[in-house]
Amino acid sequence: MELQNKKEISGKVSKIGFILLIIGAVLVGASFMANKERAFFDYLIMYMFIISIALGSLGLVALEYLVGANWSTPFRRISEFLSSIIPLLILLVIPIILGMHDLYHWTHKEAVETDAILKGKEPYLNTQFFYIRLGIYFVVWFLFFIGFIKNSTNQDKDGNVIYTKRNTTLSTIFAPVFMITLTFCAIDLMMSLEPHWYSTIYGVYYFAGTIVAGFASLTLISVLLKQNGYLDPRIGNDHFYSMGTMMFGFNIFWAYIAFSQLVLQWYADIPEETFWYMMRWEGSWKYVSIGLLFFHFVLPFLILLPRSVKTNLNRLKVMSIWLLVAHYLDLYWLIMPTYTHKAGLHGPVFGWNELGFPLVIIGLFMIIFRRRSMKNNLMPVKDPKLEAGLNFHL
């Protein structure tokens, strides 16, 4: 059977994306002019969010091969398209490199000299090694990304099973590599904002958020495509139900990990650990912390629990947007307190300075998605598992 894109994704998508990107970029520029330090922190939030979606999506692609899932095959391209921002990561990191001094306390030579703890961590936390590590992550991610995408798109031509086999092997190697690089990436870029503090579960925490973001963006785009008639009519409730379930499940996983981190530090009650939470509890940060609990976990949990929500496209769409916003809030909660604390503010800051960054993200992904969809099929048309995936029923 010949399965091709029925319609091509309208040029409006990239136009709107472009407009958003421009507005966002202008606002971001203004934000840098107005308050350079604050803007660097906002930029880091944006950057981590992009990594979440890029790597989360690549992780989902790998996961599908790893476990041999059928149901998600019709959607794999969507995740592939989203992960196509990976080559850009190296460009996008430049502002962070420029803002190292504003962001990371451990880059202050004079502070490290007088600080026994930072001195002890110096063999790991120093700028040279930091750049080397970032370089390693980018190269590794890029190579795997190219590998997966090449095999997947080549299969569109002849449907050879060998590509599936190759990607399965690749995903077996990628699974541990993914976990390790993502863990260290989270430690380097986010945890080292507070170089005195550490949590051994931090990497898993970020990973949990990443996978939620990966599933939420996949769900959001699939629902939008479905509603606009781009997807095969055989894709129905059972597919979306499964997607909703995965989103729901990994969101619980996030809560589980977040709680595990909290309860251990709360129990031990050692000042060198608890100050990190105290920073997120001082002033009105308290309400952000409590809000995160409800917004990221309690409410989505209750809303996504009934089956009817997971099979209703509109509600699913709302929930996937919700979880993406929740992940953004999560990153804000992880990163911003370092800034407000340094700036002597006793509460979160939010204003026009922050608004440009999400626009840039949305714009970037819209443009990239549309560009990739012009070059490739929206479905892996010759994938041997596609037929089974389309006919999937619970």
Partner: protein, 401 residues
Amino acid sequence: MIKKIVNIFKKVNEDQNPWKDEKSDKVYAVAALFNTPDEIIHAAEKVSNSGYNDFDVNTPYPVHGMDDAMKLKPTRLGWFSFALGLTGTLTALGMIFYMNGIDYNNIIGGKPFFNFPSSVPVTFALTILFTGLTTVGVLIALFSKLPWLNNPLLDSEYSKATSQDKFGIYIKSTDSKFNQSEIETMFSSLGSSAVSLIYDSKVNEKKIKTPIFETGFIKILIGVGVGTAVITYFTLNWVIFQMPFDWMVIQPKVLPQEKSKIFADGFGMREPVPGTVARGFMPYEYKGMPDSLVKLLANPLPVNEKTLLTGQKRYDTYCSPCHGNYGKGDSRLRGQFPNPPTLMSEKVLNWTDGNIYHIITNGQNVMASYAKQISRDDRWAIVHYIRALQRSQNAKDSDLN
């Protein structure tokens, strides 16, 4: 051994099964077997489309798409689970709140008596437990219609096949459209590999006995109980102290009463830094002083219901094991310990509050100091309570007014 157990079960089964070989000639259902999941989906679709609704499907494993094919309504089971899961959550929180927060306050790691974080794991576990058990319970009660232990399908070739590698469907004779020959032809036209009739069971009332009271079964039950107990005992008392399970047990930390090389005097336990006071503890300046000086200490607490209740609580917890519930020195410890004296003696009656407080704080001979366990205010509350006990047992007529 295993063979023996299996035989016991077999025997129980054969002797006890009141339905064995007792089929009536009333048709219960028409059943058909199919070889592949696709065939069974097709058959289920056909049956539900033909307007039957009293039918069911048996497969060796869950078949995708069956819900749609059978036109099943979404199950309500989820709501039961949710409701009872919520009950579990509230039970756990309520239990912890009452036990830790109200009934039996214990300071653990300096945390508030009731606190949310440490309640979460138990709450989580109880929620899962309630949800799991009720889901299974409701499933059994609603859908398997317990306590009815038999189903005409059992002991049929049909059931044997569907629990191995065949996919079966049957339409019950209670269906409004039931017509035996019509259904048989429909099944064969669908390509069934075997169409059969299932007959209702004829129950032999006399034979119905509860197999739980069989000696064989009881023997197994006792065996399992003893076995579990022995294994648990050895696991907890021996296995966990062997390599590598002891890796977490032995930790390079100083335990109470242990030596430590870190300090010059070799003691692991330390005195507080001179001039400091632990939180919540006021130093007692009258340590070891004679009664005459102590006498003058006045009870700072007012006598009211609250202090008396606290005093009662603390007294019952800390003092009553020795001095008895009413302070008469008649506790169950009598004879096993230097006899604790009565607190109703002339001597104690004539003491000032300060004297009693001094003894709780300082101790006297074999009675140790309770200053570390009981806060200052609570000690004074106990004194009030002892006074109340004394008065109640030497009540004068005027007290009635």
